[in-house]
Amino acid sequence: MERLAEVSPSGPTDLGTLADALAEKVRRRSLIVLFSDFFDENPEGLRRLLVLRAQQNDVALFHLLDRTELAFPFEDPTLFLSMEDERRLEANPRELRKGYLEELAKFLDGTRRLSRERDCDYQLVPTDESIEAALVQFLARRDRRGFGAEASAAPAEPTKVP
C-alpha cells in the first residue's frame, strides 16, 4: 500500500499494454488487484486484461472514480480540461448532464458485465472513500470463500452507482 501511495498518475490509460506486461511477469497462479478508472481509448484493453483470469489467476478490479464524475453536479458554464491529453470543452453542464450520465452508465454497465462474465471481482470505489478499507473488505471476503475458490458472483458493491 505504501508503494501504491508513492505512485503519481500520469499519461493515458493503456490496459492492453498493462495486460501484456502482466502476462510476462506472472508465471504462476497469482492474485492480481487492479486499481484504475478504466478510461481506456482502446475498448479491447480490458478484455485483454481479463484474459489473465483464464490463466488461473485471481483478478480483482477496483474501479476508482471521482464523485463529481459519478454525479456530474456542475451548473455554471465550465471549461472542461482533459487530464490525459490536450482536449478541452467549453459547455453549459446542465445541457450535457443527461447525455454524459447516460454515457457513463453505459460504460459502468459494460465494465461490470464484462467482469462478471470473466468471473472477476469488481468493485466501484469513489475516490472520496478509503481504498484501504475497500481492499481489506475484499481480502476478508476472499478469505471466507477460500483462496482459489471459484468466485460465483461479484461482491456486493459498497457504492451506489448513480
Binding site: 478510461f39 471549461l79 487530464m83 470543452l89 450535457l96
Partner: protein
C-alpha cells in the same frame, strides 16, 4: 389591436433582455480538469442538434415571456371585424332601403345619433349593392312619402338618405314595410329585398303583423327582409312625460302644481334623479326621484307665479342619450286675480241664510282666482266702487245680490264704474224694488224690471204671502230653457251635464220688459221669460239674473250647476277669460284653438318654420300636424308673428321615450326577418375584444415551456 394603457406596452421591449444578456453577459467559464472527457464529448456529439434547437426555443420562450407580461398589463383589445351581410347574394335583387326616422333614433351613442349611424349604414349598403341591383329609399316616419320604384340612380338614392330628417314622432315600421313592398312590386326583377335600418325599439314593431307579400304578376312573392340593428344593444333612457298643470291654492293665490311622469327605461334603478322646474335660467323648484328599473314614477313640482304673467317654462332632468324627452316645455297664462265686491242685500248671521253665501262659496272655489269682498248696501259708498282720486279703486266686478235700491251717488258711481270697463251682476230677491232699481240704474240694466212672478210657492213658504204685485201662475216651478250653450258661461255643460242645469227649479222670478236689441238673452225660463240677460255698457258689461242667488226663490244655488255658471259670469265680467292651464300638445298632433281665439294664420315652430292653420266646418281652428318639440308661437292673420297668451308648447312623444328593444331573434323567428346586429363604426367600443387574458395564459404556458426546456 389597441391598448388601454399604451405606455405599459413599451414594456414589451423587455423581450430583448435575453438575447442582450446572451450577447453581452458571457461570463468566463471556470476551467475544470476532468477525467471522463470522452463521455462529455460523446454527450455533446449525440445531442448537438437537439441542443441547438432547445437553446433557440428557450431563448424564444424567455423573450416571449418577458414581452407578454407588460403587454398583458397594457390591456390590449382587438377590434372585431363587422360581420358581413347576413344575406348571401344569390342573383340581383330589387332593394328598398328603409330608414327608421322615428323619435327614438335621436338616441345618441359616442356623440352621434342612431339616425346618423343608420344613414351611414344605409349608404354603405347602397354602395355594396351590385350594379345590376336597382334600389330606392323609404324614409320611415309619420307622413313620409312612399318610396319610388327601385332604380339605378344611385346619386338620387344617396341624396335621399343624406337629406332625410329624423322626426320626433313614432313610426310604424309595418306601414313602412308595406310601402316598400308596394315599391318593389313594380320592379321587374323577381328577387326582392327590403333592408331596414332601425334601433329595434319595440314600440315601432307589431310582431303580430306578418311581413308584407308582393304581388308580382300572377304570383305572390315574399320579399327578403334584413334588419340592420344600428343600436347594437340596450338603450337605457330616462324620459319625462304627461305633464298636467293645476292651480295649487295651498301654496298661494297663483300657485300651481306641475305633475308629470318619470320613466326609467333601463335595467338599473335610479336614485336621486334631479328634477327641475325652470323658467329661463331660473330654477323655481327642485326635486328628486327614485325610480326602479323599467318603472315609472309620478312627481309633482310646485311654484307660485306672478298674477297675469305669461310663463314659458320647462320641467327638466339631467340630459342623457335621448335629450328630447329630458325636458317638457309648457306655456302657462297666469290669470290676474279678479277683485270682486259683493253687495249683500240680505245679510244674515246664519251663513246659509245669507244672500251671498252660495255666490261667495262658488267664487271661492276658483282657487285664488278672485279676491272677494262683501259689503252691506247701507254702508256702500261711491268710493267703494270707484275709489278716490288719491286712491282709485281697482275693482273688476260688482255683484248686487237682492239689493232693494241704490242711492243716487252710488248709482252714478256704478254707472261710471261700468262705463270704464267694470262688470256688474244683478240678482233679484224679495228685497228688490224693481221700480227703484229701474230708476237708479236706468239704462245700465239689460232690461227694465217689471214685476215678480211666482210660478209655484217656494217650499216652506205659506201660500198667500206672495210679495205685492206678484203674478201667480200655479202651474208648478219653472225651469231653465232656451239656453245659449255657445256662451262662455254655459260652455262647461256638455250634453250629460245639461240635465243638472235643466232640473233646477225656479219658484219665483222677476219679469222684465222686452229687452232692447243691445241685450242678449243667455237663458230663459220655460215660459219664455228671460232668466239671464247680458249687455255691453260702455267699456263694461252687465248681467241680469232674474231670480235669486239664495234659496229663497229657487233651488238652483244648492245645485252643482250653479257653481260654474256664477264663476264664469263673474270671470267674464272681470275680463278674465277661462284661464285653465292648457297641457302641452303631443308632437304629431294638432293644436286646437278655442273659438274665441283671434284669427290665426299659422304657428311658428321653434326652428322658425311655419305650420299652417286650418278651420273645419264647425269653425274651430287647428294648427298641425306639429312636428317639432318646444314653444310654438301663433301668427295672427292681421299682423306678423307676435307672442300671445295662446302660444303653446309641444312635447316629445312618450312612446318614443320607451327605448326597450325587441329581441332580434324573436323578430327573426316570428317574422322571418334576418337581423344583423353587427357593430358599425360608432360602436367600436362594443366590438372591442380583450386579448390580455389570452396573453396572460400564453405567458403562463411560456413559463411552463421554459421550465421544461431547462430540464
Amino acid at each position: 389591436v389597441t391598448f388601454e394603457h399604451p405606455l405599459l406596452a413599451l414594456g414589451a421591449l423587455a423581450g430583448l433582455i435575453p438575447p442582450l444578456l446572451h450577447l453581452f453577459d458571457r461570463r468566463k467559464p471556470r476551467p475544470l480538469p476532468f477525467a471522463a472527457m470522452e463521455f462529455l464529448l460523446r454527450a455533446k456529439r449525440s445531442g448537438a442538434r437537439s441542443l441547438r434547437l432547445r437553446r433557440i426555443l428557450l431563448m424564444a420562450a424567455r423573450m416571449a415571456l418577458l414581452a407578454a407580461i407588460p403587454l398583458a398589463l397594457a390591456r390590449p383589445h382587438r377590434i372585431a371585424k363587422a360581420s358581413a351581410s347576413p344575406i348571401a347574394s344569390a342573383g340581383p335583387k330589387a332593394t328598398v332601403l328603409v330608414l327608421d326616422a322615428s323619435g327614438s333614433m335621436r338616441y345618441r351613442r359616442s356623440g352621434a345619433s342612431l339616425f346618423h349611424e343608420a344613414q351611414e349604414a344605409a349608404k354603405r349598403r347602397l354602395q355594396d349593392l351590385g350594379n345590376e341591383e336597382p334600389a330606392s329609399v323609404q324614409i320611415c316616419a309619420a307622413r313620409s312619402p312612399a318610396a319610388p320604384v327601385p332604380g339605378f340612380d344611385r346619386l338620387a338614392a344617396r341624396s335621399a338618405i343624406e337629406q332625410a330628417q329624423v322626426s320626433a314622432e313614432p313610426a310604424d315600421i309595418a306601414v313602412c314595410l308595406e310601402a316598400a313592398a308596394q315599391a318593389l312590386a313594380s320592379s321587374p326583377l323577381p328577387a326582392k329585398r327590403i333592408i331596414v335600418f332601425t334601433d329595434l325599439t319595440a314600440t315601432g314593431w307589431d310582431l303580430g303583423r306578418p311581413l308584407p307579400d308582393i304581388q308580382s304578376g300572377s304570383s305572390t312573392v315574399k320579399p327578403e327582409v334584413e334588419v340592420e340593428d344600428v343600436a347594437h344593444g340596450p338603450m337605457p333612457n330616462v324620459g319625462l312625460s304627461d305633464l298636467t298643470i293645476r292651480p295649487a291654492p295651498s301654496i298661494g293665490p297663483h300657485g300651481y302644481e306641475l305633475s308629470f311622469l318619470v320613466h326609467n327605461y333601463s335595467d338599473a334603478a335610479i336614485q336621486n334623479l334631479p328634477l327641475y322646474l325652470k323658467v329661463g335660467e331660473s330654477t323655481l323648484a327642485r326635486g328628486f326621484a327614485d325610480v326602479a328599473a323599467q318603472e315609472t314614477a309620478r312627481k309633482v313640482l310646485a311654484a307660485s307665479f306672478e298674477p297675469g304673467a305669461r310663463v314659458e317654462g320647462r320641467i327638466e332632468t339631467q340630459a342623457d342619450a335621448l335629450t328630447e324627452d329630458d325636458t317638457i316645455p309648457f306655456v302657462l297664462a297666469v290669470p290676474r286675480q279678479a277683485r270682486v265686491l259683493i253687495v249683500d242685500g240680505a245679510a244674515s248671521s246664519l251663513r246659509y241664510l245669507d244672500e251671498a253665501f252660495f255666490t261667495l262659496t262658488a267664487l271661492q272655489a276658483t282657487e285664488g282666482a278672485m279676491q272677494v269682498r262683501s259689503v252691506d248696501p247701507d254702508t256702500l259708498t261711491a268710493a267703494d266702487l270707484v275709489g278716490t282720486t288719491a286712491a282709485p279703486n281697482d275693482l273688476d266686478a260688482v255683484l248686487l245680490l237682492n239689493v232693494r235700491s241704490l242711492s243716487k251717488d252710488v248709482a252714478a258711481a256704478l254707472k261710471r264704474f261700468v262705463e270704464k270697463g267694470g262688470g256688474l251682476f244683478i240678482a233679484m230677491g224679495d228685497r228688490v224694488d224693481p221700480d227703484a232699481l229701474n230708476e237708479s240704474l236706468g239704462a245700465l240694466l239689460p232690461a227694465s224690471l217689471h214685476l215678480v212672478k211666482t210660478a209655484a210657492t217656494p217650499p216652506g213658504e205659506v201660500g198667500g204671502s206672495e210679495p205685492a204685485g206678484t203674478s201667480i201662475t200655479g202651474r208648478g216651478p219653472a225651469h231653465l230653457s232656451q239656453i245659449d250653450y255657445t256662451s262662455p258661461i254655459f260652455q262647461a255643460f256638455d250634453s250629460a251635464a245639461r240635465e243638472g242645469l235643466l232640473e233646477a227649479k225656479f219658484y219665483r222670478y222677476l219679469l222684465v220688459e222686452p229687452p232692447p236689441s243691445s241685450s242678449r238673452v243667455l237663458a230663459a225660463y220655460d215660459d219664455g221669460s228671460p232668466a239671464i240677460l247680458a249687455a255691453n255698457r260702455g267699456a263694461g258689461r252687465v248681467v241680469l239674473y232674474t231670480s235669486s242667488a239664495s234659496r229663497e226663490w229657487t233651488d238652483w244655488p244648492i245645485r252643482v250647476s250653479f257653481v260654474p255658471v256664477i264663476q264664469q259670469i263673474v270671470l267674464g265680467l272681470a275680463g278674465i277669460a277661462d284661464s285653465k292651464p292648457i297641457p302641452p300638445d303631443l308632437v304629431g298632433t294638432s293644436h286646437v284653438l278655442p273659438p274665441s281665439s283671434p284669427a290665426v294664420q299659422a304657428a311658428i315652430t321653434p326652428s322658425g318654420h311655419e305650420t299652417a292653420a286650418s278651420s273645419d266646418a264647425s269653425g274651430s281652428t287647428s294648427v298641425g300636424p306639429l312636428t317639432e318639440v318646444g314653444i310654438h308661437r301663433l301668427k295672427l292673420k292681421e299682423g306678423g308673428p307676435k307672442a300671445s297668451t295662446a302660444d303653446f308648447a309641444v312635447t316629445f312623444d312618450p312612446r318614443e321615450s320607451d327605448t326597450r328593444r325587441l329581441d332580434g331573434s324573436e323578430l327573426a323567428v316570428r317574422q322571418g326577418a334576418k337581423v344583423n346586429s353587427a357593430a358599425g363604426p360608432l360602436d367600436e367600443e362594443r366590438r372591442r375584444i380583450p386579448v390580455w387574458t389570452e396573453l396572460l395564459a400564453a405567458a403562463a404556458l411560456l413559463f411552463l415551456a421554459e421550465s421544461l426546456l431547462l430540464g
